[in-house]
């Protein structure tokens, strides 16, 4: 808080302190001019300081100021050893003078004076004369009481001395305190003028009051000074006057005239002369102030008047410009503007308004407000002609007609003016209105769904076409039958009611026979017949059709082909471009409606057909939700198969119903549900309502219905087929067993034959015969092995030749006929399956070849080597080879000729049964390779 109060306290003290100091100093100056009694001072500048201080400081500082002045004054008095009581009394009167003076000045001037108004001068004048005179009485009285001085002289001295102090000093301080810019005086001409004036002023002053050290005792007439003071009063401000007064006072009071006389002002003694000079100075100075302020005020008044004139001029210009602007707006507005008088007669309308209403530019107005504003809106505008305070805007829409009879949608925005006139802004919203109707129709088309809905909407579109083209009939035909005829006809309500009889309502017209009204379809462009009856080749109209005066027909074209036509007719005036545009737009919509209707019915038919197929398909089928398995629909075959009523399935899950014998199998659908596949097929077992199990082959396809994955499953009952298959499998197995048994039996029989031969050999006892029998037994063994391999084999037709050779070697190597000969066998056998017919001769050939090796290749008991190979040749044939490294055949030995039964068998079997070739290699021992194809016989089973 203290920091905030600091500066203000400082200022509060500074002001009174400075004032006190100034007061002290000027009082000391005043002491130089005492009156004859030495009581009252002849000149008293502190009076001006005191008044100025009170006027400059705010009232709340006045007590402090008073104290400062009181102390300063008494201190000054003490310096001259003035009677204390007198000092206190005089200072009291001085304070009273300043205080009262300040109050009076503030009151009269309406605030602290700045010495730039006459009233400021008057207020100071009052303070200097009247207030000063009153307080002077107190001072005079005080002097008389305390010092017995001449009260009249004292009062006069006081009045004059303080008066001059107030008149000269106070304005000077006030003028200086006025914060006035001095920059305008700092220009050279001003400074020069200022300097010249003061030089002249000082010289004249000196000459007047004999103060000049340059001249002798010579006086100017003092009135020259009065003339001269006009200069600063006229040219400069009050401040300069103050300064000039101060200069002159200094000259005058320090002049010899005061003390020595004679003064230009007269006066018996020095004091009287002083007082006369003072009086002169006071009058001069005050007069100058008055003159200065009067001039300033005059100047101010002139400026003010000029300003006002300029303002008025600019206001007038602004008004004119505004009027021009408004006129330009009125004339150039895109919207029509009409002004109606008190009687609602249209007084004025702009060009746009005329155009909207179809009026010629210079056509006489014969319009009424009711022609352009709907009655309802007129009602809202208020009573006719009555000035109204309402400034609300009334917006209205009405259908009206232009001068030429054409129809428009007119929007008006009207406002009643305070004068009672009405201003209406008009806009032709026919197109906008039409666009909105089109949009409404389109939106309706989006939501309409039923056949009746489509028909109603098509009717509405045709009604609209009729309205917007100002027609009394409208029709719509779709072009069908390979562009040969007009069909699917629709008419507007009005046309049906008034123009056409029922007979033509649903007719189909061959285009070729139709009149020129079908030209739009034939020519694929809009056709307008504004004078139909006079058209050449117009042909007739369908029977029952009303007379046509005018018509406008537009084609609706899709992919370059006319798909429909829309026509309107019998407008009161000729059809124009606007009608054409609107008809085209409505034609498009009408087509969209008709097309949607057609597509919808087509779709419905398709749906119904598919529903029929589903319902009556002989294949059981169901539609279920993929996730839950809940039935959405099942067909008749499905119901028949599982025995459930439809309502027992729909809405329930397949698991809940218990159709699945193995519920886990439903996981088969995971592929579809997880999006990995679209279709799955599987075999499963299902339970009928009566508990019977159905074997079925199911094909399920994932389809999206309303965004949800569903399964369409077809169920094929394969129970019977499975049973039949089981029977076949069983029969097959039985036959297989039988076949193996047969092979076994044959083998057994060969064993018996072999036993019989054995008995025979033992009974005969002949070595050679025994050997022959043994060879035969081996051959039988080879045959038996084939049978054995066959019934051991998985496949009853094929024998693996490699396995067969391995077993045969095993049998042969242990035969008695080997006579203990040791022959090492090396095999290199490929796995080659062959049928029985190939295996049997192969076995017999191999038997002969191996027997030969044992019997003949190594006769002297040496250890032998036999190589057996089986391979598939690059030609696809099979090569079977037996090679030994024994003694071989004698050089003269011819196989064909000298070969015994064994070799002959080999050649015979190979050529006749295998259709193969035998190759002998006699270079080292004997090698024999049999090459044959295995495609000679076909598999028998």
């Amino acid at each position: 808080m203290s920091s905030k109060r600091g500066p203000s306290t400082g200022f509060a003290i500074q002001g009174p302190a400075v004032a006190g100091l100034a007061y002290f100093l000027t009082q000391m100056l005043g002491f130089y001019f005492p009156d004859a009694d030495k009581v009252i001072m002849g000149i008293w500048p502190p009076a001006g300081v005191g008044l100025a201080a009170f006027l400059l400081l705010p009232k709340k500082r006045w007590p402090l100021l008073a104290l400062a002045i009181f102390i300063a004054g008494n201190l000054a008095n003490m310096t001259i050893g003035r009677n204390l009581l007198l000092s206190l009394g005089f200072m009291g009167v001085n304070l009273l003078e300043s205080w009262l003076g300040a109050l009076v000045v503030l009151r009269l001037a309406g605030g602290p004076p700045r010495m730039d108004r006459l009233v400021d001068c008057a207020a100071i004048g009052v303070a200097a004369t009247i207030v000063n005179a009153v307080t002077g009485l107190a001072a005079a009285g005080l002097g008389w009481i305390l010092l017995r001085s001449d009260p009249i002289a004292s009062w006069f001295s006081w009045w004059i001395g303080d008066g001059l102090g107030i008149l000269v000093i106070a304005p000077m301080i006030l003028a200086v305190a006025k914060r006035e810019s001095v920059t305008r005086w700092l220009r050279l001409p001003s400074i020069l003028e200022f300097a010249i004036f003061f030089a002249l002023w000082a010289i004249v002053g000196w000459q007047t009051f004999d103060a000049s050290p340059l001249h002798g005792f010579y006086h100017n007439p003092p009135y020259i000074l009065i003339l001269l003071i006009f200069w600063p009063a006229y040219r400069f401000s009050a401040r300069t006057i103050s300064f000039a007064s101060l200069v002159l006072a200094f000259i005058a009071l320090t002049s010899r005239a005061v003390s020595l006389g004679p003064s230009p002002m007269g006066g018996e003694n020095g004091f009287a002369r002083l007082q006369n000079i003072e009086l002169f100075l006071a009058i001069l100075t005050f007069g100058a102030y008055v003159l200065s302020t009067a001039l300033a005020e005059l100047r101010q008044a002139r400026l003010l008047a000029e300003d006002r004139l300029a303002e008025q001029k600019s206001a007038e210009e602004g008004l004119r410009a505004r009027e021009e602007r408004l006129r330009a707006i009125f004339d150039g507005a895109a919207d029509g503007i009409a002004i109606a008088g008190l009687d609602e007669e249209i007084l004025e309308i702009n060009d746009a308004g005329r155009e909207i209403l179809g009026l010629a530019k210079d056509e006489r107005l014969d319009l009424h407000l009711a022609d352009i504003v709907s009655p309802e809106a007129l009602g809202r505008l208020g009573p006719t002609g009555a000035p109204t305070s309402t400034d609300s805007l009334v917006i209205a829409l009405m259908t009206t007609r232009r001068r030429d009879g054409s129809r428009i949608e007119l929007e008006s925005r009207s406002r009643k003016m305070p004068s009672g006139e009405t201003v209406s802004v008009l806009r032709d919203v026919t197109e906008r209105h039409f666009e909105r109707r089109l949009t409404e129709l389109r939106i309706k088309l989006l939501v309409v769904d039923t056949n009746a809905g489509f028909e109603e909407l098509l009717g509405a579109a045709l009604d609209e076409a009729e309205t917007v083209t100002d027609s009394v009939m409208s029709f719509f035909h779709m072009v069908g039958g390979n562009h040969e005829r007009l069909e699917l006809t629709a008419w507007s309500k009005n046309t049906l009611a008034t123009m056409c009889s029922k007979k033509v309502e649903k007719a189909h017209y061959p285009i070729a026979e139709a009149g020129i009204w079908a030209d739009a379809a034939r020519l694929a462009r809009p056709v307008i017949h504004n004078y139909y009856p006079s058209e050449v080749g117009r042909k007739g109209l369908p029977e029952g059709h009303a007379e046509i005066k005018r018509e406008l027909v537009v084609p609706i074209i899709r992919s370059g082909v006319v798909v429909a036509i829309l026509g309107v007719g019998n407008k009161g005036i000729p059809y124009d471009e606007g009608d054409l545009r609107r008809a085209l737009a409505l034609g498009e919509i009408a087509w969209d409606i008709a097309d949607r209707k057609f597509t919808k019915s087509l779709l419905k038919e398709t749906e119904e057909r598919f529903a029929l197929v589903f319902r009556h398909s002989p294949m059981p089928a169901a539609i279920t939700r993929a996730e839950s398995g809940i039935f959405l629909d099942v067909n008749n075959a499905y119901i028949a198969l599982f025995g459930y009523a439809k309502h027992e399935l729909i809405g329930r899950g397949s698991r809940e119903v218990g159709i699945w014998v193995d519920p886990e199998i439903r996981k088969t659908f995971d592929g579809i549900i997880e999006g990995r596949s679209r279709i799955v097929s599987f075999e499963g077992r299902f339970r009928k309502k009566n508990g019977e199990i159905v074997e079925a082959f199911v094909t399920s396809e994932g389809v999206s219905i309303d965004g949800e994955l569903h399964l369409v499953s077809q169920v094929e009952d394969i129970t019977e087929r499975k049973l039949a298959s089981h029977k076949i499998q069983k029969a097959l197995a039985e036959k297989e067993v039988l076949l193996r048994e047969l092979y076994h039996r044959a083998n057994n029989n060969m064993q018996v034959i072999s036993a019989l031969l054995d008995f025979q050999a033992v009974a005969i006892g002949d070595e050679r015969l025994s050997q022959a029998i043994e060879a035969t037994q081996n051959r039988i063994g080879a045959l038996a092995l084939v049978n054995r391999k066959l019934y051991e084999a998985q496949d009853l037709s094929y024998i693996n030749l490699r396995d067969y050779i391995v077993d045969l070697l095993d049998v042969l190597s242990q035969g008695d006929w080997s006579h203990g000969r040791s022959v090492e066998i090396k095999t290199d056998l490929e796995s080659i399956p062959v049928i029985v017919d190939t295996a049997i001769p192969c076995g017999l050939i191999l038997n002969e070849l191996i027997s030969n090796v044992y019997l003949h290749a190594y006769p002297d008991g040496t250890k032998g080597l036999m190589e057996i190979g089986l391979r598939r040749l690059p030609t696809g044939e099979i090569g079977m080879k037996v090679a030994d490294f024994g003694i071989g055949l004698p050089p003269e030995f011819d196989i064909e000729r000298d070969g015994k039964i064994g070799l002959q068998n080999i050649v015979g079997l190979c050529s006749s049964q295998l259709r193969g070739t035998v190759h002998f290699d006699r270079t080292k021992g004997l090698a024999c390779e049999v090459i044959f194809a295995d495609n000679l016989y076909k598999a028998r089973v």
Binding site: Q751, A755, D758
Partner: protein, 118 residues
């Protein structure tokens, strides 16, 4: 090693052949029977070292039943001989602890390998 062998085979020629072959090989054939009951009786009476036992035999019992009953008193080596149709009896037959299960027509070398000879 000369062994006492009992042959149970209901077909004459195969039985005779076996008998001839095994005799030639030096074995003593203690009997050739055609029924299971004869086989059991002879096995008890002659105590053979080895019994060649056809699974399908004449009479009311089959070879496996014969073997089961013989096992009650004898530890003779039993060699089963089976036709193709009796293959399915193989597991039941193995319960009697035979030393071989041969499929007919039986190869003489197999018999010789199992029973040994001179």
């Amino acid at each position: 090693m000369k062994r006492k062998i009992l042959i149970a085979e209901d077909e004459f020629l195969p039985a005779a052949h076996l008998r001839a072959v095994l005799s030639r090989a030096g074995h003593e054939i203690v009997g050739t029977v055609a029924t299971a009951r004869e086989c059991i009786d002879l096995a008890r009476e002659k105590a053979p070292d080895a019994i060649l036992l056809d699974i399908r035999l004449a009479g009311d019992l089959d070879g496996i039943e014969a073997a089961r009953r013989i096992r009650e008193f004898s530890q003779a080596d039993i060699v089963f001989m089976s036709g193709y149709q009796e293959l399915s009896f193989r597991e039941r037959a193995m319960e009697t602890g035979p030393i071989a299960f041969l499929i007919k027509p039986v190869l003489l070398k197999d018999i010789e390998a199992i029973l040994g000879g001179d």
